[in-house]
Structures are given as C-alpha cells and as structure tokens.
Amino acid sequence: MSDLQTALRIHLSINKLGVWLMWAILGGILVINMALFAIFTPEHPSSNSALIALPCYFVVVASIAAARALPLALTLGLTRVRFYLASLLWAVLVGVVWAVAAAALARLEIATDGWGVHLEFFRPWGAAAGSALETFAIVLVALLVAFVTGWCFGIVHSRWGVTGLLLALGLVLVVIVAVIVLAAAPHVLPELSRTLSELTVTGAVILSAVLAVLLAVLGYFLTRRTAV
C-alpha cells in the first residue's frame, strides 16, 4: 500500500496542474471553436477531433514519468515494476475519469445541438454522435495506448539514449505506414485489407485495447531491466 501511495503521490505531484490545465486548454479551444462556428455556420454538424490533445498529453506524461520520476521512485525505495504497475493504475484511473467526462460532454453537446452552433467538439473520430459509450471506450483506449507508448519511449530513451528513441520512433512510423498501405492495397493481403477497411468502432476499440495490453507487457519487460 505504501508503494502505491508513494507512486500515486509522485504522479499527482508531477501532474498536479497538468491534469486540469489540459481541460482548461480544451475549454479555451472549445470557446474559440464556438465563436468560429457562430460566425461561419456550417450546414452539417462536424467534429474537429480536438480530443486528440488528451492522448498526446498522456504520451508526454508517461515519457516524463519513465525518464524522470522512475529514478526518484527508486531512490525512495520503490522497485521498477511496482512503480510501473502503480503508474499504469494511475493512467487507468485518470483515463476513466477523463473518458467519463468526455462522454458526458459529448451527450451534453448533442442535447444542446452542438452548443447551439452545430459543433461536435467532444465526438472522437469514429464514434456515433452523442454515443456516450462509444466516446467513453474510444477515449479510454486511446489514452491507455498513449500512456504505455509514452512509457516505452521514456524507458527506451533511458536505456538506449536518443539513438534508441529515434529508432523506436522510426519503427512505430514504419508500422503505421505499413498498416495504412495494407488497408489501402487490397491486392497485397486481401483478407487483412478487408478487415482493416471494414473495421467497426467496436472492432477498432478491441484492437486498440489488445495493442494497449501488448504495449503494457512490452513496457513491463523494458522497465524490469532498466538501469537508472
């Protein structure tokens, strides 16, 4: 329990401001969007994918936790694995709160006809407008994938420096491009291409959840042998 408290305390201290600042920034962007939508009234409601800022923030938070908070945690008598697991727990807790908030705001958005200006600010990519469950699932899974990805980047940087980080980023880029190419080129691997192009929201969420678990396992093995 003490380890968990210490680890959570570290995360709360690091992100004391950031957790709220992120939503304050989103609020600011929402106000600007509302003003723009009020001036240039669109014919159909549209989403601006502003929620992508949340997983981006999680990538940064996780990288910092792995690179800078982990050494402090070890100094304070935690083990790598315990701090990692506690960090995952923190990510899940914050992720759930944020996803619930996003889902509630998405519902409110629909109820107010897009804040009165046909704006779908809180509808993540792929989710049906006003679907609280889809919004919740997409936001939560995106946050978890972002956190474990960021953690892995942070650990890779600690273990192998900038070269390792660049190689890891290059590898991720290659995988993303490969998936896009496979999805867009049905003659290469028809089955996979069809699966990817016909992926439903539920399928995408499940696939992302599996990816998050795989990355979490990778993070575990990378963290176990990290020298700080």
Partner: protein
Amino acid sequence: MTFSTDHAPVLSEGQLPRSAGNAADAADSANPAGSVVAVDGVTRRYRQVIALNDVTCHIRRDVITGLLGRNGSGKTTLLRIIAGQEFPTDGSVTVCGATPAENPAVAHRLAFIREDQCYPDIQVQQALSIASYAFSNWDHDFAMRLVTDFELPLKRKIRKLSRGMRSALGIVIGLASRAELTMFDEPIAGLDPVARQMFYDHLLADYATHPRTFVISTHLIDEIAGLLEDVLLMSRGGIAMEASADELRGSIVTVTGPRAAVETFAAERGQWHVDAIGGHARATIQRPLTDADHAAAKTLGLTVEPITLQQFLVQLDGANGAPTFEAEQEVSR
C-alpha cells in the same frame, strides 16, 4: 585491513598489518549477520569499459563506511549495483541477505541519494512530502529542521535550485528517511563549507541517536575522514583497500629524509612506495612503527609522519602508474 595486491604490488601478504586472509576477516566473512552488504566478485562492463572488476567487499551494519576513490574509480557504479539500480555483468550482491534488484523487501530498507539525483518537475516541499510517504521511519520534524538549517526554499521548483541546494535536498531526504541503509553518493558536491560542516554535524548527531548503516562516497577524503569508521578505497574499478579507519590512521606512515637512509629504513620495514627527488626521498610504510623504529628513524635523521587518507589515495594511484613527482619517481619493486 584488506589490501588488494593488485593495487599495492610491493607488499606481500605477510607484510600487511591485517591481510585478506587473517583471522579477523575470516570471522567477518563467516559472520554475514555483521554485514549489511556483501559484494562478491562483482564485475560491470559497459562495452569496452570495465567500470568494476571483480569487486568483493563487505559493509558492516550500523557503521559509517566511506567509499573513497578518484573520479571514475567505480564508486557510483558500485553504489548503484548495491541499491539495485544497476545490474552487475558478473558476480553477486546481497543487501540484508537478499538480492537488491527488484526486491521490495530490500528497497524499503534502503535510501540511495545520488549526486546526479534525477527529480521530476516538482517543488522541494513536494519531494519531501513524497519521501514522507515512502519511508516508514521518516522524521518530519528532523526534515524541517534540516530544511531550515540548509535554508532550502520549500516552494521552489527543484530544477531551479543551485547545485549546492540540490545536494542539500538529497541530504535532507537521506537523513530524515532514517533508512536502515542510507547511501550518499558525493553528498557534499556543490555545498559551501558551512553547509558541509552542517551535514557532518547532523549526520553524526543523528547517527548517535539512531544508529544505522551509512555509506558515503566522496573524493573529498580528508574532510570526511573524521566521520568514518570503515573505509573502502576504490581504484580503477577495484577495491584497493578495505579497513577500519582507526586501523588505517595508525598503520600507514611516511618517512622522509636523505634518500639512502630512507631506502635503508623503509626496506627493512615493509616499504610500500618510495618517491625520490635527487638526494631526498619519501617512503610510505604500511605498518605501525614500534618505539624502536621511531628511535632508529631519529638516529638516521628521518622524519616520521602519519599519512592522511587523501595522501594515501594519491600515493596509491601514483603507485599504479600516475607519477606523484614529475621530476623523478621510483616505485620500489
């Protein structure tokens, strides 16, 4: 006293005041309960660089041990391995009878404050608050007293602290943690003389009331020598000497005077190292001198002086190839 022959090529085992194989050491190794840390044949390689080479040593429980040596001698690597923050390439380490790496039972008993301690972007008071959760024996009042004495600004971000203040923060966390094994790596780096003295005073006072094991790594040897009960002297990735500070203080002397007289006198008394310039020489003798020895030295017109730990380290590394006298140096063989 254990003295590595790798680093003192002129001494045979029989000449040592307390050799690696003597009864006291045998008793220590047979009594692991007396040691809180046991390092056995630890080697750490970083590609071509050997940071630690077959290091074997023990750290006694409830004793202040100094881990001394030059920059790059392997002190930090050894401490990191003991703390479980680094992994040995070869050999084993036990802390309180268990392997330290990824062992919560060991980690909870240990505080390791590094010179390059990495902190996230938090304030001093947040760091102390986190530390208070981490250490079961944390003494808040003591921590606040130290904060006041070191004039640490609680509200300031750690990244905005000067080097000395960061060292002071590490000292506050290390001392107030009251961890069973507290290890400081270069704790006084960047501290002004007043703050350094404050650290020594607080360390000794708290150690007196709450005895526990301290390991302090530094290359500012003379300043800290008075605190130490045991000494581990590191040189070039190895343990050059393992001794109690009292033993060491009395057992190593330098004899200076006319070259011929010094050489004659030292050769008969277990000379370890001789520096000579022209007709003048200085010999280091690693053996307590008797009254008869002192009388003989006086007769020969020689000056006998105890050697400081720092001088000893300088000579130790000089004996391994780095000349202490540029003009002329002779290391007896």
